[in-house]
Amino acid sequence: MTTHLDMDKIAKGLGAERRGKVSATGGYFGALQLLADVEARFQVPAGGGRPTDPRWTERRLVPLASETLDRLEELTARIRKHGNVSVEPMQLAGLLLERTTQQLSDEEAERVVGPRPTTQRSASQVRQRRRGAPK
């Protein structure tokens, strides 16, 4: 789900000039955004314990490569150091997963997971087989 904003309406309402797109996912800007996300959303539960997002009520096992876990550990160490916020590697994984699923549009998701004809068989052949044409 992407956020569709009417940028012309926003520019008019602000009395400002549109100057172009920015990349809000990488570099220092992206890192600041991630830090802001953690700070804005993580709260200490009423009964005490590790700060977390109160909306996270579901728990699942997520398979991942050791390099990915290393990278998550490295990133959380940096967030703890620079942002003074306590966050665990799999909490960060949850945050990144949530952000990506929100940013992925329906069309993009369809392109990623949608059915595709195999290289050995053309799309028309697949359609013929589904209709029960001779093999």
């Binding site: 956020t3 569709h4 904003l5 009417d6 940028m7 309406k9 926003i10 520019a11 309402g13 602000l14 009395g15 400002a16 000039e17 549109r18 100057r19 172009g20 797109k21 920015v22 990349s23 809000a24 600041l32 955004q33 802001a36 996300d37 700070e39 804005a40 929100q102």
Partner: protein
């Protein structure tokens, strides 16, 4: 739960008009357009946080960064600056509300005018907006 309380709870949770997934970034400068005259940056950071708190429900100011801006109207003079970057998460509904936009725009114009800026920069979502005309509206 009474209707009003339910609405207030929904609003606090960011459920009215969608979740708070739009990032608004404001740069609060440290110097005037000449690059030499300091401004009362703390005052403007406080004022910006108050405005974001009242209009959009909250914001975070980060420690000073280092920045540079090329002033095209003054012989491409490079203005070196130590801006404070303020992040505010809001909903698509709130950021497109004409009253909220008017308040945000007014704040930026007032800051630009009173701190003698060449430009006030604002990022909304994935777009950069520039304000150069600081005349009162």
């Amino acid at each position: 739960m009474p209707k009003k309380r339910a609405e207030a709870a929904k609003s606090a949770a960011g459920l009215v008009g969608g979740r708070k997934r739009v990032l608004v970034v404001l740069f609060v400068p440290s110097v005037e357009r000449d690059g030499a005259t300091s401004i009362n940056q703390d005052r403007w950071v406080d004022a910006a946080l108050e405005m974001f708190g009242e209009v959009f429900g909250g914001a975070t100011a980060y420690p000073k960064a280092r920045g540079i801006w090329r002033d095209g109207e003054r012989g491409e003079f490079l203005v070196k600056d130590e801006p404070v970057v303020i992040h505010c998460y809001t909903t698509p509904h709130d950021i497109q509300d004409p009253n909220n936009l008017a308040q945000l725009g007014d704040f930026c114009r007032t800051m630009g005018r009173e701190t003698n800026q060449g430009e006030v920069g604002l990022v909304v979502g994935d777009e950069y907006f520039a304000m150069r005309d600081f005349v009162k509206e």
